[in-house]
């Protein structure tokens, strides 16, 4: 674990802040004891920092009150959903208040006729689909963390998932937002309609990682559940074969609803935990799912099977029951955490590359692993070319080891940019990848982004230290080093 050096700002902090917040909101909505604060210093990634206080709002009015208070006293506001984030987005790197949405987790409205739901940001992703299922509907974006991550986190990160290949990521499924800006004003953007006049500010806000303001209500699209699905597990002798298959399937004009890839290290970890039934001797496996109207699904599946065989598939298995399908997916969805069986810590990368470059980049990943003497597992959204190399390490070896791991990660991201890709597909920049931003954007690009931030958050209190590189922490990159 590494604690980033905080950039100390003037403003109310510590005990004085906590007592001010208790007076403002009542003590049952505030945490201030040190032993409690220590439990809000982590998320699903590797960076840590301790907040000065944690606030647990019950409603939008609490958030607005809090924001006004913090604006007056120059206190950073760091929204937090479930803390499953993989880029340190919810880490209070500059101290201040963490706002946990654990108690704002209700579905406010299921508008079945209009295919919309209005929810609070702390709602767990899967709980929405579970509630919509009796109406034959679901919420499409299905991050592998969907059992736990919140809609607020999904919107802030513009999360994707296995099934966003065909149906689009979070931004394609959000039509309205209620926000509290860092000055305490409550703003409504969009609504239930698909399009609104003027700027698409909802689109701007999705993926902003809490740096533009705080989401307090979300209106999302619900989608009719497909009539049927077919899920195929294809095992290949090598990752190259599996990668070529991905390109061949898309090249044949087929867009599966999901297409996920795992290497041998991943399947072995998963088998030890979930027992999904993946063959352990395969160099790589693909999970391919097609869905839609029942007629024609089997034909489509057969075409995919033919392509797999031509690419040397050693085993093809089609899930015949819902239980079998769930098992195949449980393996994929539990894959990151299953790495806990192989190493005490992992650092996950999120680079995106053009699909056709998969074999080349994966070979580079193997090479990096060998050079650094680090084990790297690959489990990722192959259809989107969204890589997730998981670099395993032992955090108890200290900060030097973490630095080495991050260095290895950087080599992988540099390759992603070299082949025309980007440094993050869905996990966000957070505090972890801020220093890589200039690798991808010119100073002018960055300045434009900063102007957008200033327009929403002139005080700079909305999740500071995220997305934009800060001079203190990014020594090796000057802003001019880009491109």
């Amino acid at each position: 674990m590494t604690a980033a050096p905080p950039i100390v700002r003037a403003g109310l902090r510590g005990a004085a802040l906590a007592s001010g917040l208790r007076d403002l909101l009542g003590s049952e909505k505030v945490l201030w004891a040190r032993e409690d604060l220590l439990l809000y210093e982590y998320d699903g990634a590797v960076d840590i920092a301790t907040p000065d206080a944690v606030v647990l709002p019950n409603e939008t009015a609490d958030v607005a009150k809090l924001a006004r208070f913090c604006a007056e006293h120059a206190v950073p506001l760091v929204p937090r959903g479930a803390g499953t984030g993989l880029s340190g987005g919810a880490i209070p790197v500059e101290g201040g208040v963490v706002i946990s949405f654990a108690r704002m987790s209700r579905i406010l409205e299921l508008d079945v006729a209009n295919l919309r739901a209005v929810v609070q940001p702390g709602l767990v992703n899967l709980h929405l689909s579970t509630a919509a299922a009796p109406h034959g509907l679901y919420f499409v974006p299905d991050p592998s963390s969907q059992k736990a991550c919140t809609l607020g986190g999904n919107v802030a990160e513009n999360s994707g998932g296995p099934h966003t290949l065909a149906y689009g990521v979070t931004t394609n499924h959000v039509t309205g937002l209620e926000l509290v800006l860092s000055d305490g004003s409550i703003v409504r953007l969009g609504g239930k309609a698909l399009e609104y006049d003027g700027y698409d500010l909802v689109g701007t806000f999705v993926g902003s990682e809490g740096t533009l303001g705080i989401i307090t209500e979300i209106t999302v699209k619900l989608t009719p559940l497909p009539e049927d699905k077919r899920t195929l597990m294809a095992a290949f002798p090598t990752m190259d074969d599996a990668s070529n298959t991905v390109s061949a399937i898309i090249g044949a004009g087929i867009v599966p609803s999901a297409m996920e890839m795992m290497d041998q290290l991943s399947t072995q970890a998963v088998e030890a935990s979930v027992g999904a039934g993946y063959p352990l001797d395969a160099g790589g496996i693909l999970l391919v799912e097609v869905d839609g109207v029942r007629d024609g699904l089997d034909d489509l599946l057969e075409r995919i099977e033919v392509i797999c065989r031509a690419a040397h598939a050693q085993e093809l298995r089609v899930a015949t029951t819902a239980l079998e399908r769930d098992k195949l997916w449980a393996g994929r969805k539990g894959a990151f955490a299953a790495m806990g069986r192989l190493a005490s810590d992992y650092y996950v990368q999120d680079g995106v590359i053009p699909r056709t470059k998969l074999p080349q980049v994966l070979r580079h990943v193997i090479d990096v692993g060998e050079r650094y003497g680090l084990r790297i597992a690959n489990v990722f959204h192959a259809g989107d070319g969204n890589l997730h190399p998981l670099i395993m390490f032992d955090g108890s070896k200290g900060p030097a080891e973490v630095e080495r791991v991050k260095e290895a990660g950087r080599e992988i991201l540099e390759m992603c940019i070299q082949v025309g890709g980007s440094i993050t597909g869905e996990h966000g920049v957070g505090m972890e990848k801020t220093c890589y931003m200039p690798l991808q954007y010119s100073p002018v690009d960055m300045a434009v982004m900063h102007r957008v931030k200033d327009a929403f958050d002139p005080l700079g209190l909305a999740n500071p230290g995220k997305i934009f590189p800060t001079p203190g922490r990014c020594k090796e990159f000057s802003l001019n080093a880009a491109r």
């Binding site: 004891a33 220590l38 998320d43 699903g44 803390g83 935990s273």
Partner: protein, 426 residues
């Protein structure tokens, strides 16, 4: 204040178990205390972090905060089922509680109460039977109202748990002969709470097994399994009981030790771990644990020799935590229920959630226990079931009490009692 780093003794939660947790958070929504309280300290990930913080010298093992969040845990192990990383949460929690006990000097009243409970009551079937009878009687006599009136709310709430039916503690015969072709021989573990208040259920279990060609021995050489001790962190007491059971039961030439209380079963299956620091006993414990089977697990594995008679009812099955999460048994009880003709099984929302019983949780955390009981009762009422089936005496008592408080007249029956009744109706 002098800061002591780490934990007081060797029963501490092991760092290699803690480091299995990759703080992914996937377990959070399955945790009943996180759902109710919404704070990280009362989530599985948070509790593991608290243990880590003690190791790292950032929190004292004898601090009130550490004790409080460990005590609020139900030890339901739902997080263990949810965790893809294979964190053995139950082992961590029991270890952490033992350290709370070792690190804190409990006040005198607490100490006396614990002693009375763990030394006297639980390990002595006779005394426990007496307590159960007293509870039943005093309830009949309206003692609850009186206790409430004089402000002894906690005792009153405890009495709420005393089951509706009159407790029976008639001794079981030492042997039930197999009926029809003999297919196996087992020893029945009768348990402490079970034996005292639920002797009927033990007899029912034996009859159901016998009906299916299984000879059932009821050995006198057994004692309390020590589950309540282990959950409360009383490792020493738990180990003593484990050794007595191992010595008493291991010589028997039986195919399995059958348990019908999920809490006991989960604990009996972990004797190897409990005794891990003593090589000889650890091995004997492992071997013993491998022979322990829940009644439903065993029956589903050998298959029913005879079809039960019909039960005309709509039932919901509620998974005891220590069966579904502790022993990963959830399909077998449902399969047995499905074998009963005319019994209609309806789905129960959050069937895999803790009802709030959780060993001594009712006593230590009455408010949270009541909230969870209420949540369970509401789901049961909404399910439309005319009867709830479960497989653990603690759950049975808690759910009955919760339903009663809700004013719902839905009986709660043990799976083995229901099967017994079904066979009797043939």
């Amino acid at each position: 204040m002098i800061r002591r780093r780490g934990f007081p003794n060797a029963d501490a939660p092991l760092p290699e178990l803690i480091s299995r947790c990759v703080h992914c958070g996937l377990c959070l929504p399955t945790c009943p205390t996180f759902a109710e309280l919404g704070v990280e300290m009362d989530s599985p990930r948070g509790r593991i972090r608290l243990m880590k913080n003690v190791w790292d010298g950032r929190l004292d093992a004898d601090s009130a905060a550490f004790a409080d969040h460990m005590a609020k845990c139900l030890d339901c192990r739902a997080c263990e089922t949810a965790c893809p990383s294979g964190v053995s949460f139950g082992k961590l929690m029991e270890a952490a509680r033992s350290q709370v006990l070792a690190a804190r000097r409990p006040n005198l009243a607490e100490a006396l109460l614990r002693r009375a409970a763990f030394r006297g009551l639980i390990t002595s079937p006779a005394r426990l039977a007496l307590f159960a009878r007293f509870g039943y009687l005093s309830k009949r006599l309206g003692a609850r109202t009186i206790l409430r009136a004089i402000g002894m709310k906690r005792l009153a709430e405890l009495l709420d748990l005393v089951p509706e039916k009159a407790p029976t503690s008639a001794a079981l015969p030492a042997r039930f002969a197999a009926i029809g072709t003999k297919r196996g021989t087992v020893a029945l573990f009768t348990g402490c709470v079970m034996r005292a208040a639920f002797a009927d259920t033990n007899a029912a279990t034996a009859r159901v097994l016998a009906r299916n060609g299984i000879e059932v021995l009821v050995p006198a050489t057994q004692t309390c399994c020590g589950a309540l001790h282990a959950h409360a962190g009383e490792r020493g007491g738990a180990r003593e009981l484990a050794k007595r059971n191992i010595s008493g039961l291991e010589p028997l030439a039986v195919d399995a030790f059958i348990v019908n209380a999920a809490g006991c079963g989960a604990n009996l299956k972990e004797y190897g771990w409990l005794l891990k620091d003593d090589q000889e006993w650890a091995e004997r414990g492992e071997r013993f644990s491998a022979r322990v089977k829940d009644a439903s697990e065993y029956l589903a594995a050998v298959g029913l020799a005879e079809r039960p008679g019909p039960v005309r009812a709509t039932a919901a099955y509620d998974d005891p935590c220590h069966l579904i999460h502790g022993q990963k048994i959830s399909a077998q009880p449902r399969a047995l229920l499905a074998a009963i003709p005319e019994l209609r099984l309806v789905p129960l929302a959050e069937a895999d959630w803790c009802c709030g019983s959780a060993g001594t949780y009712n006593v230590t955390q009455p408010e949270l226990a009541a909230r969870l009981g209420h949540r369970k009762a509401q789901h049961i009422v909404r399910s439309g079931a005319e009867m709830v089936v479960t497989a653990n005496p603690g759950c049975q008592m808690q759910i009955e009490a919760a339903l009663r408080r809700e004013g719902a007249r839905v009986p709660v029956v043990h799976l083995m009692d229901l099967l017994d009744r079904a066979y009797a109706s043939r």
